[in-house]
């Protein structure tokens, strides 16, 4: 009877011992994987980048093809809006042509200064992960570092480099919920208005899911739908005057000190294949 009891206790201890050893091995495995994170991620992307790029293109083409069936109604509306906007723009163009002549020389100089000021590194988009994090196929060996701004060829701001690995990097898009940037509202001025327009500063906060919203605009400031948002001179992480988005719907409540607005970001990740990393922008902080 005693022998049987001992046998039972030993068996029970054996079970606990197995569990303990198993847990220790598991913790060691997780710890080693954690230490090797950079290498594993780098090998994974180096090996998978061509396949991932193919899937990225295939997804883009399929989504465009399928989307055209579902978005017939919205395309008609979009076309009407574009025609209306085009007419407005034509009238503004006529007015601005006279001013343009005077400003051309100065703007040419500042444009060339801006272009020569920044070194741009082209990188291919290879994937979009949860939390609005984009993967690009350039890394530390190409001179990419954390915090560098990322734009496209039209100077539309995408975000900044969040993590850098040897051969690829992760970009935090400005639509990420952890993104907050200082912006300036460029108001749409009627063609016949010659008064100077006061500058309005605010912030664009990421809303997740490739969306963002405008916040911290004093309720006394007058903003309008279709006003364009550009990066402000007080923004530390990005150069000024990069295109961010435009206002679509204003949420104004006189009881609150600040007004918010829904915005359409200018970037379109799904149709973007290549981006540019500004490699020599000196961050103020």
């Amino acid at each position: 009877m005693t022998g049987l009891k001992n046998f039972y206790i030993n068996k029970k201890h054996k079970g606990w011992l197995k569990l303990l050893i198993g847990t220790i091995i598991f913790i060691i495995v997780v710890f080693i994987l954690g230490l090797l994170t950079t290498s594993i991620k780098n090998y994974f992307y180096a090996f998978s980048a061509p396949i991932q790029k193919t899937f990225w293109f295939a997804g883009g083409s399929s989504s465009k093809f399928l989307g055209s069936f579902f978005r017939v109604g919205s395309i008609v509306n979009e076309n009407e809006n574009l025609q209306r906007q085009n007419q407005d723009l034509l009238s503004q163009v006529a007015f601005l042509q006279s001013i343009e002549e005077a400003n051309r020389a100065q703007s040419d100089v500042s444009t060339s200064c801006q272009n020569s000021e920044f070194n741009l590194m082209m990188a291919g988009v290879i994937g979009l992960d949860e939390g609005d994090i984009l993967s690009i196929n350039k890394g530390s060996t190409d001179g990419i570092a954390e915090g560098m701004p990322v734009v496209n060829q039209q100077n539309i701001l995408f975000g900044k480099v969040l993590k850098v690995y040897k051969n690829f990097s992760k970009i935090m898009l400005i639509s990420s919920k952890d993104s907050v940037i200082n912006i300036k509202v460029q108001q749409q001025v009627p063609a016949d208005n010659t008064d100077s327009v006061p500058e309005i500063d605010g912030v664009v906060k990421g809303g997740g899911g490739l969306s963002a919203y405008l916040d911290l605009i004093p309720v006394s400031d007058n903003i309008n739908s279709q006003d364009v948002l550009i990066t402000s001179a007080i923004e530390k992480s990005f150069p000024k005057d990069l295109l961010v988005g435009k206002i679509t719907k204003i949420d104004k409540d006189d009881q609150k000190p600040f007004q918010q607005a829904q915005i359409d970001l200018f970037f379109n990740v799904k149709t973007t294949d290549n981006l540019f990393v500004i490699t020599n922008y000196k961050q103020a902080n």
Partner: protein, 173 residues
């Protein structure tokens, strides 16, 4: 057994690639299906016995691919999936047996709870560990994400069940 593990690893790899590239173009209000998590959950759900080794191996592989896609170190998803996988199996043993050994009425609530636990725990982890995180994000978009993922998981549930029935009628994988 090895054949099964290798097949699952290949599927995790394929789903991880599809998730971050192909399916990024098919978002609904910004929500994208977490295919790796869905596959892990379905594999564990349909695992007949309390085969803890298989659950842990699956959790390690799925966790590696999930953490590669994120910008954290490799590890948090492995631990979370292991805990979720083992708890799921224990919980399944407590549920009342019906005629169907893997009923859909059990699958959907268990999936929803597990998905919420995984996402919320990862948010908490990122908030406390990652300096770029400024807040814990958990609200309406996450609920929508759950609904979208539950929809995709439901489709894959029936596909996997058909596949299981097909292989059990023939030879075991």
């Amino acid at each position: 057994m090895w054949k099964k593990i290798l097949s699952i690893i290949f599927l995790f790899y394929l789903f991880a690639l599809l998730q971050s590239s192909f399916f990024s173009h098919f978002d609904l209000f910004g929500a994208v299906p977490n295919l790796v998590f869905i596959l892990f959950f379905i594999v564990v759900f349909f695992e007949e016995k309390t085969n803890n080794y298989f659950i842990i191996v699956s959790a390690i592989m799925a966790g590696i691919f999930l953490d590669i896609s994120s910008y954290t170190i490799i590890g948090p998803s492995i631990i979370l999936l292991t805990v979720i996988g083992l708890l799921l199996k224990k919980f399944q043993l407590l549920l009342k047996n019906t005629g169907d050994s893997h009923p859909f009425v059990y699958f959907l609530p268990l999936f929803a709870v597990s998905f919420l636990i995984y996402n919320f725990s990862k948010e908490l982890y990122l908030y406390f560990v990652d300096s770029s995180r400024i807040a814990v994000h958990f609200g309406f978009p996450e609920i929508f994400l759950l609904i979208y993922n539950a929809l995709v998981a439901s489709i894959l549930f029936f596909v996997y069940r058909k596949f299981i029935n097909y292989t059990s009628n023939g030879k075991d994988l």
